[in-house]
Amino acid sequence: MLMFLARRIVTMLLTALCLTFIVFFLTNLPPNLEKLAKQQASVRMSDAQVTSWLESHGYAQPLVTRYGEWLGVLPGWTGTDADGKATGRCYATAGAKDVPRFCGLLQGDWGWSTVFRSGVGGILATRLGATGWLMLCVLLVLIPSSLIIGILAGMREGSKLDRSLSVVSIASTSTPEYVSGVVLIVLFSSTFTGLSPILHHWGWISTPYLLKGSATSAMSHITFENFTLPVLTISLYGIGYIARMTRASMTEVMTAQYIRTARLKGVKFRNVVLKHALRNALIAPFTVIMLQIPWLLNGVVVTETLFNYKGFGWTLVQAASNNDIELLMGCSVVAVIVVLLTQLISDIGYVYLNPRIRLS
């Protein structure tokens, strides 16, 4: 087990290094740097000015050196700016006094965001907090509903209930977030169409809309009104997949010998499902749910953009569309950690839940 863990962690680190390097490489291609220079200094710079700007801001060093600086294994660049003051990579966050020689990820310095003009670490912490609430609500909706659908469908394979729930799950997997979001907004939050005008006309709701189509206000306080639609939008796409996996696992368990024995002994069907089948049927969905979390990350990006909720996904889009190198690097580090960590947890959990599997 320890050997397995060690090997997995080494692979994880290697993957994370390769991935961040690829992102670093792609964001630091010459056209991207030129765009960055023009964005930061002035749009009407000549080529020579761009070159000198890049040189004075440390972008002219070799790519690998700069990656090393970002990571914190090489000392940060230093130089003097136009006024003759000393500048360098580490001056941005540390100020003028006690500038450390190394300031990279390993030293806990995430860098400086050129779009938001503040430290990347701070931005990521607040944005991740916002997304954390979103993800928490999503998981609270997603896991129970998909497990219930899957178990109901899987307990009597081929029944009418199974068929109709399967179609529901398939429909759910065919509705990406940008489709369900649009449909939900039209149904619940438009003052002209959908349910809201009818309900308002009947006097059931006092506001002209049932739910809010924008989640910006949820940044300060989360209410049912402003958070339901984003949560539903992300959940809807995921429910179908987990439900289908649960169903497959449930149907397999329901044909097992011990279920037949229990039935023949005269145990009620209800009890067979709840006490005998359920525990074994939930092993596979656990893995699926864990592996689904990084996939939800994509949903989060789409949904946060659609509902204008300024969380991690929104930040990623801002960083990527403005080529904010260090913020984008921070975002990819977070994303990679989420992906690799969930993979690891799903593997370990699988072994833990299923004692028949032994890792060598």
Binding site: C18, N32, A171, T173, Y178, G213, V302
Partner: protein, 394 residues
């Protein structure tokens, strides 16, 4: 003229789709009559779910091919006074054009209905072909990884997992921005990815016909010449780092945007296909018929491509359907973030993005493409489900 009511709008839309209805009826009639002779395809018509799925898919496929007959207006035409008009609004002065905007106008006064139909052309043009390419890449790399195992497998799996660990949207943002396009990265990626179909076909033919060298040489040469020419014409693009062919030899020029979207979608899909093929190969290589072929002295590539691959076709066909649906969703994601395809392109993702800004006031410009995309993906998923059930019955 009067504004149309909703039942009239649906009738009128049904009427516009008449070539599609005829094509669908013919397809279904022929398929049901001959279903016993059509193998797995014929078996689809035994399952109601698969039939519904197939009908939805074919509806959009026929719409895409027959789009010129269905469109009521050109997808880019902006008509005076039609900005943000509700569905069924009559034109002010039709002048012989179709007198209504069936699903209303968008913020730029273009016809929502025509743009929805034109969007199907973009999807049907890119999604299936991109999926085929992803399968070629995945199969060509997945078979040896699963068959040989060892270091090759470790290395390829590492790369596949690396790509899979990227959040898709970050990858799209990194690959599809104009600055990256300018640096030529997508073109170099295309140069690598588009090589795989040729390698696949050459190895496929070579391993089968190596006992008949004369015939083999002829076929392999034909594949290399035709494939190579297509390959070079696809890559060669005047005014970019890869301008390989002179204008006279260049068969066609794919618009830069489409090419980049295509490449990034193939790139995102191939690792998953690779993993599936690798897993299936692992499973199948211990079967008796593989051992028999090895004893017979067949070469490894013959065994992989002509013994293992045909026996893995069931899950691969099912995944193929699912993956076209997923590719459609990915294309929508690209459009939704305004990446790749030009902003006025009628593809569904871009139109949803444009329409979602004013959705609370004018729902149809976003709702129509959203439902269209959903119905196509739903059709593909139902079809895959039906195929899975029917192939399990044997």
């Amino acid at each position: 003229m009067e504004k149309l009511t909703w039942p009239q709008i649906f009738l009128a839309m049904g009427e516009r789709f008449w070539p599609v209805w005829i094509a669908l009826v013919i397809t279904f009639a022929l398929s049901i009559v001959f279903k016993r002779r059509l193998g797995l395809y014929g078996k689809l018509f035994d399952s109601p779910i698969a039939m519904v799925g197939f009908a939805l898919v074919m509806f959009w496929v026929f719409s895409a091919f027959l789009a010129p007959m269905i469109l009521t207006h050109a997808p880019l035409d902006q008509l005076a006074g039609m900005k943000n008009k509700p569905p069924g609004t009559a034109l002010r002065n039709p002048d012989g054009a179709y007198p209504y905007y069936l699903l209303g106008g968008d913020t730029l006064a273009r016809d929502v209905f025509s743009r929805m139909v034109a969007g199907s052309v973009v999807v049907i043009r890119i999604a299936p072909l991109a999926t085929i390419f992803a399968f070629m890449v995945g199969i060509t790399l997945g078979l040896p990884a699963g068959y040989y195992g060892g270091k090759l497998d470790t290395a390829l799996s590492f790369v596949a997992n690396l790509i899979l660990a990227f959040p898709v949207i970050l990858l799209f943002y990194l690959l599809v921005t104009p600055e990256i396009v300018q640096s030529g990265v997508p073109q170099y990626m295309a140069a690598v990815l588009f090589l795989f179909p040729i390698i696949f076909l050459v190895v496929l033919v070579n391993s089968r016909f190596y006992v008949k060298p004369a015939f083999r040489n002829f076929v392999v040469a034909a594949v290399i010449v035709i494939g190579g020419w297509l390959y070079l014409s696809t890559l060669s693009q005047p005014g970019t780092p890869l301008h390989l062919l002179p204008a006279g030899l260049d068969l066609f020029n794919i618009p830069g945007n489409t090419m980049i979207v295509f490449v990034s979608v193939v790139f995102v899909n191939s690792p998953t296909v690779f993993r599936i093929v690798r897993g299936l190969t692992f499973d199948i290589k211990s079967r008796d018929y593989v051992a028999a072929a090895q004893t017979r002295g067949e070469g490894p590539w013959y065994i992989m491509l002509w013994e293992i691959l045909p026996n893995a076709r069931g899950p691969l066909i099912v995944d193929f359907c699912l993956r076209i649906g997923y590719t459609t969703i990915l294309l929508g994601v690209l459009g939704f973030f305004g990446l790749g395809l030009s902003p006025e392109s009628p593809d569904w993702g871009s139109t949803i993005n444009a329409g979602s800004k004013l959705i609370q006031l004018f729902p149809t410009p976003a709702l129509a493409p959203a439902l269209a995309l959903m119905s196509l993906v739903l059709g593909l998923n139902l079809l895959a489900d039906g195929l899975r059930e029917e192939s399990l019955k044997d």
